[in-house]
Amino acid sequence: MINLRDKGAAIWENQGRFGRIGIALGAMTVAAALPFMGGTILNTPIADYESVLVYPIAMFVLMAIGLNIVIGKSGLLDLGYVAFFAIGAYTMGLLGTRTGLNTWEILPIGIAMAMFSGIILGVPALKLRGDYLAIITLGFGEIVRIVALNLGTLGRSEGIINIPTPPGIFGIEYRFDSHRIYYWTLLMLILLAIWMVRRLSVRRAGRAWESIRQDEDAAELLGVPTFKYKVWAFVLGASVGGAAGVFYASKTLFIAPDNFTLQISILILACVVFGGMGNIWGVILGAVILGYLPDRIRFISDARLLVFGLVLVIMMNLRPDGLLPRKKREKVLPNKEKP
């Protein structure tokens, strides 16, 4: 099977500075132009194409990037990622309907709330490893949903309605049906998240996470403050999930506990694994495909989820490391080659 990842990496590495900027700008242009492709083969039957681009696709991409910090980079299996998404969304719902704050003001609060809950969950849970961590996070995801289901302030099963849309900035109006605007705003958030992850990956934090993922005991014995970096991974992952949640609530105008089920956690996890754990481009590709596919094949209605599952099973058999796996190849300079 052709190795897409290495081909892409080779092209990237052979480019000069301008070539790279060109590729990056080109990719951004294509991504930004997607809402105009509604009339083409990309169009989704039944569901509105532009709204599919916002949710699930862009939202999944953002969350998958966040979850990738936790699972792909640091190797911590988090099965309750939806909790942070929910916390962001409910922060928006609550503050948006009860105070005069607007979406842009609530965004940092939502992110902070998600990060804070990341600490609350992370500090006790990250003392455990592997399966035990997975079970705790799974429980946390459910706890958040059940709390929302039972707390009167959060509207119980009716949820929160009439959540305001973001006020316009730079002369751009956010109407609830102007999907393109939301999509482009999410694109900005995604770029910001990519920047953050890439920045961190090449420095100390990236190495610390990588060493923890591969051999946590060895890492600790070679001076890596593993617990601190695990909590950081959790908190940063949570911050991205929280941002997605705030924006989600502000887009759909209505949230209920049913929007934050375990299924979301599993789907985002599937995006990360399917795309290629630890490789941000793979994760993005995985999220785009898994977000898009169910709506694209909606015409087969009942068999839809069956086909979706089948595609997953077949793909994971063909490419167990995901579509674009993490770095395996190495640069060897020709003059360093041993005879």
Partner: protein
Amino acid sequence: MSTSILSLKSVTMRFGGVTALNDVTFDVKEKEILGLIGPNGAGKTTVFNVITGVYHITSGSIDLQGKSISGMKRYKITKGGIARTFQNIRLWGDMTALENVMTATDTHKRSGLVGGLFGSPVSRREEKRDKKRAQELLDFIGIGEYADRLARNLPYGVQRRLEIARALGTEPKLILLDEPAAGFNPAEKVELAKVIRKIRDAGYTILLIEHDMSLVMKVSDRVVVLDFGQKIADNTPQKVQDDPRVIEAYLGVPEDAS
């Protein structure tokens, strides 16, 4: 050969009913190569594990330059100046050789995650300095040409040496080598002996576990012998070899001897 850098005083380590170390006392003196030998199951690796904080000792005390380190967090002990290699190689296989060493040099960085995210001057300076330092260490151990290779793809002998370079990356005062020559052929062992001496000459103190007697006797300044968790000898290599208790531990006594 003067002040002691690490001292174990009556260290006892029990796992349930099993006493792995029983009242073990010895010092590691500055800039010496101290060999730690003993038959299988004598407790050598347990000594490493209690020193590095993997196990918390049942009783006794372990002092690093006069300060107690028993009960300290593992990464803090490393930061305090003790680094180790592993008997079974435990490199981070998906990282390059250089990154393996750089992860260790991060131990003494002042800048952390936030500095790295926003590219603070401190972070940038430290990154540059450590990259250089890591390459220097690889060159020092003699594997500089492998810097950009993934650790998992390196030849066995290079992996063993990379473990040493990685441990040196934490800027230790004392380095613990756990069977660094395991699986080496005689030529590689000679090479390794040179490297070990070179490390000592660079100012590090070495505590060495090794099964290859000729190697231990050749490089060590002093040898401590353990048997069934107890220290049975602590002397120069020559005297240890002639010690009847050591010979007994390794070879046993004929039944009709007494």
